[in-house]
Symmetry: C2
Subunit: 239 residues, 2 copies
DNA sequence: GTGAGCTACGAACACTGTTCTACACCCGAA
DNA sequence: TTCGGGTGTAGAACAGTGTTCGTAGCTCAC
């Protein structure tokens, strides 16, 4: 009678399916489900386990710790990102660079708070290496000076990550209040600028409308990327 | 000695000084002490309270919550940052811009993990407004198109924050191991690149030495800022 | 068929941020 | 000088976190 189990109709709790085995991909998927539904602050090992209907400690058989899990999440988000083919044509190159920047941002925005997960992750891992290689190949084809080939991608990535990070923190703040309060928040910012003493703060008060327009993040982003591109081209022409 | 206290030799535990009253600045100072000594991960309300020899709950009479405390830390770090005077001279302006960027980075690096504290903080608060005003005044004097005056400072700030954030995450990782292991980590990176199959990863393996050189963050930073400046100048000349 | 090695589990530990209630103190009014 | 009253402090408690442990059961190779 070593393993005699209790008769099924006496089974406590919900009748469980044959218990599918866990795996890293399933766990990562569940983690994304939690992230998208509840946000970064609620992303806990217990929540991920609950998502799978599994005990917390079971996760640790597949993933060393929470940081490792987040690294896996980052890797996965990285895997299907767009990387342009190299081209010698300068004009085409800048156009593809623009595209790359936009889609990198889009990738980070494909999951709620993803930037907070990916921020500060080590870029060199076996999974990401092929992608880095292709990225470098593209950047090299633009005819930049050697030190800038890696630098350019690096800088732009840092900027994009930082940009989306702040963007998403801001969106979380908006999401945490009701839609009616949301409009109130926007109005508050506007009034804040309108109430500024133009004597004391000539520049800030003059810039009020610009700030409001700048809250459209797409334009802000594009403008920043344009500055980057101009700067890169200036260096390329010189070298 | 207006008021009678228990005779000192009967005092329980460590003889405490007359119990000085708490205040926001003292708390912030203690928080910085914890941050510098133990790093961001160990920065807890309890640690701050312990630093002051005070109960945790006492902090909440002066500070709404941990986020509010971190906001105060950020404000304080922001207060004594360098902001250049406006100038119409284009060459002088770019030189001061360089200086501003470097000292902004230096400010963020003035405390361990400070970038992680400041990341995602709302930039508009009564304490920071005068500084923003002066910053805008400087950026405006460079003769940039109107939409870029605020954008330029904004973009560069996000970049610098992101840069220092990653930089400090890296440094924390280095600090968490012994000095002997530290060299091992550097060697590991070098070997990682040396072992790369040049057939499979021509760009990455060729860039190995560049990566190593790039680990000197000061140069990396300066190069990035130079790109920014070139880009801004290009836009300024055009507008 | 049987044993060995996975792997899931529940409980526990040492933390975290935050709140509550009660107590001690200081200050100003009487 | 006496007496409250309000403020700031303290301790305990709550709900939550990441992580580890020993145990029990399952699966697979032999």
């Amino acid at each position: 009678m070593s393993k005699q189990r209790p008769m099924s109709w006496l089974s406590t709790g919900a009748d469980k399916p044959p218990r599918e085995r866990l795996s890293v991909p399933t766990i990562v998927e569940a983690a994304y489900a939690v992230l998208d539904r509840d946000g970064f602050d609620k992303l806990s090992m217990r929540a991920v386990a609950a998502e799978l209907g599994v005990a917390v400690s079971s996760l640790y058989a597949h993933v060393a710790n929470k940081d490792a899990l987040m690294h896996q999440m980052w890797v996965r988000s990285f895997l299907d990102s767009y990387i342009p083919e190299p081209t010698e044509d300068r004009e085409e190159w800048t156009e593809r660079l623009r595209l790359w920047a936009r889609s990198t941002r889009a990738g980070l925005r494909s999951h709620r708070d993803l930037a907070r997960v990916s921020m500060g992750q080590t870029p060199f891992s076996d999974e990401s290496l092929p992608l880095l290689e292709r990225t470098m190949a593209f950047f090299r084809s633009g005819g930049l000076p050697e030190e800038l080939v890696m630098g350019a991608g690096d800088f732009m990535s840092t900027f994009i990550e930082g940009f989306v990070y702040e963007e998403q923190v801001w969106e979380e703040r908006m999401n945490s209040v009701s839609p009616s309060e949301r409009q109130a928040m926007v109005d508050e910012v506007r009034e804040y600028f309108e109430r500024l003493d133009p004597e004391l703060y000539p520049n800030m008060s003059r810039l009020g409308p610009v700030v409001m327009r700048n809250m459209l993040n797409d334009d802000r982003f594009d403008r920043a990327i344009e500055i980057f591109i101009q700067g890169l081209l200036a260096q390329a022409n010189r070298g």
